[in-house]
């Protein structure tokens, strides 16, 4: 599904990703883990075309992605960003509509219904301004908006960030459920323990490089994990 080959990129002269290889196969949940500042968000920006590569390539669905967010969305690589980035001045319904601005427009009505079924709370808030939702509801909206583009692969960047422990639990259940419907998910998280519980495979990133990869079970059992995660 997604094949990332030795990508390098950064900001200005500073290289943040220093040759990253990773892949996501269809049907998988792949966790990309690491502490703050190791390059996870930069990786996501590169994948969704917001940041151009200095070298390496991103193959998605059998084709090389031309580095623009439009190309990524058109191909079905949908990125639900860290901090949600919903449209605060627009209603829940309008946020969802715009999720299908570039892709999935034909299925808009059907997909909105599907999102409301997945997130009954959003249905009660259809006309409410998105900026007035609670943190958990905003995260649901961000994921729902991503679903509107009929993703072939969903990248979730820190979906559990800033949520209460109960909501975090709910969020990971949801990720599992979406994956159960056949959607491959790349889960980018700081929450190592819970991510590994639901992921099939995982990559640990440290200083812009993959320092460890393997099945979730392998990674969980690895004594190096703590060292890598804490970056000590």
């Amino acid at each position: 599904m997604l094949e990332v080959k030795n990508i390098r990129t950064g900001y200005g002269g500073v290289e943040v990703l220093r040759g990253i290889d990773l892949s996501v196969a269809s049907g998988e949940i792949v966790a990309v883990l690491g502490a703050n500042g190791v390059g996870k968000t930069t990786l996501n920006k590169a994948l969704s075309g917001l940041l151009s590569l200095t070298s390496g390539s991103i193959i998605f669905d059998g084709r090389e992605l031309a580095g623009s967010p439009i190309a990524a969305v058109e191909a079905g690589l949908i990125h639900v960003p860290e901090g949600r980035k919903i449209f605060p001045n627009m209603s829940v319904h309008e946020n969802l509509e715009l999720g299908s601005y570039r892709r999935g427009r034909a299925g808009r009505a059907r997909n909105i219904e599907r999102v409301y079924e997945t997130f009954p709370k959003l249905r009660q808030r259809t006309t409410q301004m998105a900026g007035t939702l609670s943190g958990g509801e905003q995260q649901m909206l961000a994921i729902g908006r991503g679903m509107m583009a009929e993703p072939k692969l969903l990248i979730l960047d820190e979906p559990s960030l800033g949520l209460s422990p109960l909501l975090v639990e709910e969020m990971f259940d949801l990720v599992k459920r979406l994956n159960g419907e056949g959607l491959p998910i790349m889960l980018v998280e700081q929450n190592v323990v819970q991510s590994l519980e639901i992921a099939h495979r995982a990559y640990i990133i440290e200083n812009g490089q993959v320092t460890m990869s393997g099945s979730a079970a392998e990674i969980s059992g690895n004594p190096e994990l703590k060292r890598a995660y804490l970056g000590l």
Binding site: S48, P69, E74, V80, R84, K85, N89, E94, E97, Y101
Partner: protein, 290 residues
């Protein structure tokens, strides 16, 4: 004290003029809401649209109202192009640069108009310019009534675009959340250009509605933009209903203070309001908190 007939007539006239002010403010507030800058070229673009309407009338004998159908798409295209090809690339993502570039564009346009047409004041006069409608005891200028109706139609149209179409929703999305919008595959550069184009199109309509009763010279835009800016601040920066209500209010104030204080002091009322709004409610009537 004035008779109620005169007062009411002044109020009607004020509202009619205010609607055109609102139309000019609409473009300004739209561009501000999305690009977060004051478009300093707004007045110069209005002046060139008015010259276009005047030119079509003088050269081709086209009625100013009819010329709206020609000038509006042209100005939409020009606005789109200028944003996409000049302002966008030159700004390099810095809002402060956009400010300077629009200032440069306004100097360029004004001087090009001066070079082309000289500083003479020109107007289109026809019988319709002076025709009035009698409504009971009141005399209402027909071209102003047309201007009022035209402004309302354009505002309604713009409101419809912004709230009901994907393009309008994309504009509102980009206004508040650029990153989120580009992750939905919204082309931010295109949305900026679209917004700038719509702002210029609103000016083109305003030009066509103004020309039957107003004059044009290369510097005519300045007077309108001062008022439009007050309206934008009064209505709330970036708000479309705010621009409409603000425009009507300002028209009313200008007309009444003109009547009570004398024509030359008429604009004092506008700037008193401007200062009061800044002091008491800086976000304006419909403005969101920053």
């Amino acid at each position: 004290m004035y008779s109620p007939t005169i007062l009411i007539e002044a109020m009607i006239n004020g509202l009619l003029t205010g609607a055109i002010y609102a139309l000019i403010a609409l473009g300004l507030t739209l561009v501000y809401g999305v690009l977060h800058i004051i478009n300093f070229a707004h007045g110069a673009i209005l002046a060139s649209a008015m010259f276009a309407v005047w030119g079509l009338n003088v050269l081709a004998g086209i009625d100013p109202y009819l010329s709206i159908l020609v000038v509006t798409p042209i100005f939409f295209g020009l606005g789109y192009g200028v944003q996409r090809l000049v302002i966008g690339p030159a700004a390099k993502g810095d809002d402060g640069n956009i400010l300077l570039i629009t200032l440069g564009i306004s100097i360029f346009i004004e001087n090009a108009l001066l070079a082309g047409f000289g500083s003479d004041t020109r107007s289109i006069s026809s019988d319709f310019s002076f025709s009035v409608i009698e409504a009971g005891p009141f005399l209402i200028s027909s071209p102003r009534l047309v201007g009022f109706a035209g402004s309302l139609v354009v505002t309604a149209l713009l409101w419809f675009i912004m709230s009901r179409t994907d393009a309008g929703k994309a504009i509102r999305a980009v206004a508040k959340e650029k990153l989120g919008a580009s992750l939905m595959g919204i082309d931010v550069g295109h949305v900026y250009a679209l917004t700038f184009g719509l702002g210029c199109a609103a000016l083109a309509v305003a030009a066509g509605l103004l020309m039957p009763t107003f004059y044009v010279n290369p510097r005519v835009g300045g007077a309108f933009v001062n008022i439009a800016f007050t309206i934008v601040v009064l209505g709330g920066m970036g708000s479309i209903p705010g621009a409409m209500i603000g425009g009507l209010l300002i028209g009313l104030v200008e007309s009444l203070s003109g009547l009570l204080l004398g024509e030359s002091l008429g604009q004092i009322g506008i700037f008193v309001i401007f200062i009061l709004v800044l002091l008491l409610k800086p976000t304006g009537l419909f403005g969101a908190k920053a």
